[in-house]
């Protein structure tokens, strides 16, 4: 049944978009909390995934 598969594919595709949104907003929230934390000045900013980290 093509329609059933189509509905499933559509629902999964939309779910993927929603999960990506959630992960992104979660990352933003973590960065904001880190910036609000007074101790974060000593640790420095949270490195973004695409930025090289100092070792």
């Amino acid at each position: 049944m093509d329609a059933l598969i189509g509905a499933f594919v559509l629902a999964v595709a939309l779910l993927v978009v929603v999960v990506i949104d959630l992960l992104r907003s979660h990352g933003r929230l973590l960065r904001t909390l880190h910036e609000l934390d007074p101790a974060s000045e000593e640790r420095g900013p949270v490195p973004r995934r695409d930025e090289p980290t100092e070792s």
């Binding site: 049944m1 329609a3 509905a7 559509l10 629902a11 929603v18």
Partner: protein
């Protein structure tokens, strides 16, 4: 796939139409931003037509309901794109009282759904009711998946991540 587009689009349209029948003022405000002055009753009548079109797409097979839903979504996309050009537009008013910023995502989702429905109309996809009649169990599963997808469309549209893009 094509029938799924029509089913999901019709369910979202049904909810949006009912929301505007109950609360027409946000849609009136959005029209006002574009310089169109419409009384609340006219917005409610248009929303009632939206509900009827959605019901027709869910219940009737054939190309016309799917094509009308597809054309409606493309018109909504154009409306939201016009609203995006005005910084005063806080909400598109699509879902009544629910604040829905006129985002780029909103335009893209409407265009994708609209094109999907036009494709469904052109290919003669079956309606949700026809699918239920054809095979009750599979039809019921199709309805459950369509409702879930329609709810997810609402969540995707709520995101304002692209609103400034």
């Amino acid at each position: 796939m094509a029938a799924a587009f029509v089913s999901v689009a019709a369910l979202v349209m049904l909810v949006a139409g009912l929301a505007k029948v109950i609360e027409p003022d946000p849609a009136r405000d959005a029209l006002g931003v574009l310089g169109v002055s419409a009384p609340a009753l006219l917005v409610q009548i248009a929303a009632g037509v939206e509900v009827l079109v959605a019901l027709a797409a869910l219940l009737l097979s054939g190309p016309i309901p799917a094509l009308v839903v597809g054309a409606s979504y493309l018109a909504f996309a154009g409306f939201v794109a016009l609203l995006r050009r005005d910084p005063d537009a806080g909400s598109c008013g699509c879902f009544g009282a629910a604040e829905e910023p006129p985002s780029l995502r909103h335009v893209v989702v409407n265009v994708v759904i609209g094109l999907g429905c036009l494709a469904a109309g052109a290919s003669g996809a079956l309606s949700t009711l026809s699918l239920l009649r054809e095979n009750w169990a599979r039809g019921a599963l199709f309805v459950v998946l369509s409702v879930a997808a329609a709810w997810l469309v609402g969540l995707v549209l709520r995101s304002t991540r692209w609103s400034s893009g």
